[in-house]
Amino acid sequence: MSEISATERSREQRSANEPAAIVLADGTVFEGEAFGARPADGVAQGEFVFNTVMSGYQEVISDPSYAGQVITFTYPHIGNVGTNGTDNESLRPFCNGVVVRDLARRPSNWRAQEDLPSFLDRHGIPGIAGVDTRRLTRHLRDHGSMAGVFGTADLATLTQAAKTAHDTTGRDFVAQVTTDGAYSVDEDGDSGRRIVAIDLGIKTTIVRSLSNYGSVHVVPATTTADEIMALEPDGVFLSNGPGDPAAVQSAPETIKGLLGRVPIFGICMGHQLLAQALGGKTFKLPFGHHGGNHPVRDLTTGKIEITSQNHNYCVDLDGVPGIEITHVNLNDGTLEGFRCSDIPAFAVQHHPEAGPGPHESSYLFGRFADLIDSNRK
């Protein structure tokens, strides 16, 4: 059997449940077994957060907003449906790691193309399975999301490394995830709407949702307001993205330069940066919102929508003039959306594009189109 390739052999060895552990910055230890990619020194690090979705792990893992973070899935069976070529939210995952209770041995779904461990391995993402993820989640809930490490290194090494592990506070990850060059998606050219999307870590589903309403021109985060205006947009979209909104370079200036000149719609990071540009602040939530079941009320209609959520920071618009709050999270009362009264701009914190998650907030893309249309007249 000398023909067995090196990768196959290494995978075989790995299936022998190599012990691994998590050590959080506060010294708390969780045991598990390694899967996916293996960092050379047996240590991976990042900010530990938990996500409560029961389906859609592939979308979550490939969402660029998780750059710098280690994702803990609260649902215990992960990998059941494998991965496929169409459900990715970006070209590759940017997260620092994945924590699961139980990794599916054999995926089963008619669309499955690759199993999750191979997918992660291929993209260099390490994982740890067999973890008491509920204990980890409760710990993060009670003590806040925090930095930590995990891997196959010995406990002493991991403990030492945990002391210097960093969370996302004050860190700009946008540069890592934004597109190198501009590109266009022109699915609905008939409407004549030209939408320029500033890529702060944009999800594929957002591009797809926008393209239902016009041609979409995705530009790097460093694009200036004048460069954008030169593209003659009917509307500008501010995307989701990773890290601390307060630390993001260049984009805030760009947004300030666009305010009032063109209709603007922001989602997630885009929501936070729009708020900042208008004079608002952002603050970090204890453990963020990461899941697909948060109720949000649209104050303009009174309707409740179950939303897809993925954010660590929240917007504070206290004292900012010309602002109308449009959306509120019913779980904790945090701000989920606002619009400007005198200029054409609005944003939401949650994810109307879903991917993964419920579809009922997708009307917001329609609102953007309406805003563009009423502005054009």
Binding site: H77, N80, D87, R134, K303
Partner: protein, 1120 residues
Amino acid sequence: MPRRDDIESILLIGSGPIVIGQACEFDYSGTQACRVLREEGYRVILANSNPATIMTDPDFADATYVEPLVPEVLERIIAKERPDAVLPTLGGQTALNLAMDLSEMGILEKYNVELIGADAEAIRTAEDREVFKKAMIEIGLGVPASGVARSLDEGHEVLREIGLPVVIRPAYILGGKGTGIASTMEQFDHIVSRGIDASPIGEVLIEKSIAGWKEFELEVMRDRADNCVIICSIENVDAMGVHTGDSITVAPAQTLTDVEYQVMRDAAFRVMRRVGVETGGSNVQFAVHPETGEQVVIEMNPRVSRSSALASKATGFPIAKIAAKLAVGYTLDEIPNDITKKTPASFEPTIDYVVTKVPRWAFEKFPGAEPVLGTQMQSVGEVMALGRTFPESLQKAMRSMEQGRAGLNCDAGERLYDDVETSDLLARVSIATPERIFEIESLIRRGVSLTEINVATGIDIWFLDQMLAICEEREALAGRQSGDGIPELTTGEWKRAKQFGFSDAQLAYLWNSDEAEIRSARIGAGVETTYKTVDTCGAEFEAFTPYHFGTWEEENEVAPSDGKKVIILGSGPNRIGQGIEFDYCCVHASFSLSAAGFETVMINCNPETVSTDYDTSDRLYFEPLTNEDVLNVIDAERRSAEAGGGELVGVIVSLGGQTPLKLAGLLPPELVLGTPAESIDLAEDRDRWAALCTSLCIPQPEGATATSLDAALETTRRIGFPALIRPSYVLGGRAMEIVYGEDDLRRAWQAITLGGSLGREGGLSSSRPVLIDRFLEDATEVDVDAIRDASGEVIIGGIMQHVEEAGVHSGDSACITPPVGLTQSAIATISDYASRIAEGLGVIGLINVQFAVHHSGGDDEKVYVIEANPRASRTVPFIAKAMAVPLVKIASRVMCGATLAELREEGLLSESGSISHVAVKEAVLPWNRFPDVDTVLGPEMRSTGEVMGIDMTEGMAFAKSQLAAGDRMPLEGTVFMSLADRDKPVGLRAASKFAELGFEIVATSGTAEFLGSNGIEVAEVVAKLTTPSADGDDIAADGPGVDGVELIAAGRVDLVVNSPRGRGPRADGAHIRRAAAANRVPLMTTAAAAFAAAKGIEELRKNELDVRSLQEYQSAMRGA
């Protein structure tokens, strides 16, 4: 939108007796609704004929009508109570159908009553399959091709369009009754004809079969502001083709990507909106093609269902409670989530564990019925198990079933299929049966590829692979043993084994050790259960409800407490002989002890029940009721008490039927509250029990125990025939029989010892012998429920006289209280004996004693004791309602140390006034589910549920009980009588009464002759069908004239009285009884019941059928 103020009183319709397809999940939903609506300040009027339910406790409604659930009775209730609204969506199909009747008959309009929850139009859209499919097509959702037929010809026309195979479903039928899959024309004709008959509107839906597709279900809630949420997704392990009630199901869905799940979710909301369910919960079922992902909508229930009970327990989201609040106008965001307290109910629960539901069947009770699962539901109960992974929850579910299996494998049962060839076994698993999951395990363990099994069964590879993981772990664990005894395992290895769901009993089997040794080795290695919390949110928010399940992780969430804790062991899955009555008992104990300041801890694994509601007890452990699982909870609660300064007072084992009672002997004796395990054993141990009766000078039928046929024959030679034989330690008269001779005994012996199910449960041994008693023919059976306290005081809760004579299982017999047919002296003797037996056994708490009153002519009567059970009996809730005594509340306090005198002082026990009403309990039998089974009653219990008729006279109470059980007594017409000789004296009284009431009487020759010679005119002598030959076989009779079956089939009979007695074969009677059932003619199988029926008919003709609430009966008693 706040609560509606324009309505003040609401009529809630319950679901009536427990039947297959409609079990205690509707007691759970109705109880929740009653509590919520009263909390909201509405006047609640409840109608439900089932006395065993918790909701019919007078405390739960302002006016409780235990009356037949038929439109004219409901009209009387409406006319009397004048409710503003009727809430029909929490009482199953029964309530929904009744609401439709009330609407169509114009009764709702006449009394200006509004239907809330779902209106008539919505119900019609969801329930009428043709309308539903049209609606689905209209909103662009996929549905299987289909057509509707009201005759066989129309059926053939539809078939030409669709082609075989097809599924045929009767319209407006609960639990899929009459449904079937046809792959041949013969099957097609048969099922279509049967279905048209079964449907109340004579209509069937014929649909392209999608058997083999994957099946999913979503639980949806909607409020009147049109907010919709999904509470739970459920995936069936069994593919389409097996009724969802008969499928092993898992929550949440395991094999859908988010893209597919969201498409399904959107579709569910569109279905809800299109059907027009304005508020409340519904479920929508989908089928998904395993290779293309094509989704089609199968059906929706516009009401709370069995699945919603499951979803509520699976997620912690109380669907019924919320549905009731939505029905009175609240919106989801206005209702707080009880569990997190600070978040609203307008969200979608997310769970961090896996839930597995496994149905439990009762085919062993119905010889002749083939144990094959299909589109018609046949299970009588279910278990649910929670684990962090599917393998863990599946294994827990398997041991929760109490059918002799310790898990998926790793027990004596795993060898059952060893002798079956792989090819045969593969062929077998292509047919769904109760055994299939174990057959699949056997195939996996012998290395058959998952693909092959997937092809044979349609079960998704993911589930099969998870089962393979269990098998691989089993092999690995077996391989760890080198030599004898328990291998040296590391803490991690122990934990891993437990995480796969292996119980200590399974490991003991694997390593040829015993459970106690495994337990101590495991605990020695530091591996103990950790309890997680069901919190609706995957730990995102703090949970304030201690609803736990056990698993094997790093963190235990059981909080310290300073309470005086009492653990109550529930009754596990519903089965025939052990059902809702015991849940009633456990729930009452919890309420009573909680009121007395105890911290109550419930352990149970039945998702349909009130006991597994998170707010019934102070703490809930959703766990299997096995020795290990119970001991683990005891340990956890002990630690919680130690850490918090509390105290574990003990464990109540005597309220959950046989399930917890069997555990009594295995628990630390000092923890068993009330009657000690020793006394329980004394009552079960034949010889010691006989000695006790002798010492108390209480006569009992002669008898003995036997573990061999020879010993049994020796006994019958001494005591004579007929004899009653039964295995010990079983409930519901499992395998109990009356034998009339030695050959009969030999045959019955075989049935008991080789009959499979009993053998599987451990077979016969000196500790589990067969009991043999002389059977007292011609005796009246009497049941007594009593309570004795530690000071020795005994109160008699109630005495029930059976309508059917001794020999019919008490659970299947109608019974009357007060015992109007007993003499005062017999009642005095019975009370005296019951008290002395309670004393002799040292009972503390409830005891049920059965007596037989034997009349040997004239006034000469003798009372024999048949058996005593020092535990709550099936009749406790009936007695509690009929006599207005809170028996269980009193008994549970007594078990925890109170004396009856103290409880009298406290006011819990009050002297009952004189009773001027009569209550009749009638059993409800599932014959319609098993059309090939003889409907005769015998010593083995087969009823699934019961109803109560209550009125001022025996006749009226009996008539109501029959009406409630589904038999409408004719007020005129023809009675067909066929009586066994010994029944003729009583039968004569019945016949005279029928004649006096103007009924025409027809009879078989012997009966006709007897009646004629006693001056009763017999209009026609009915021919016999068969004559018995010497060896017991039947020979077709060729006598002249119309036979009984023809007569019934011709619609010429309005009431059948057929009493099978004596030694001979019963084939003739069986045909007549089957014909009566098939043609829905009321049938009395005993002369006593016929006489009671005659009296009832007399009353019905004299008086209007009047309704009174339990509260009215109670105040009459107090006033008297």
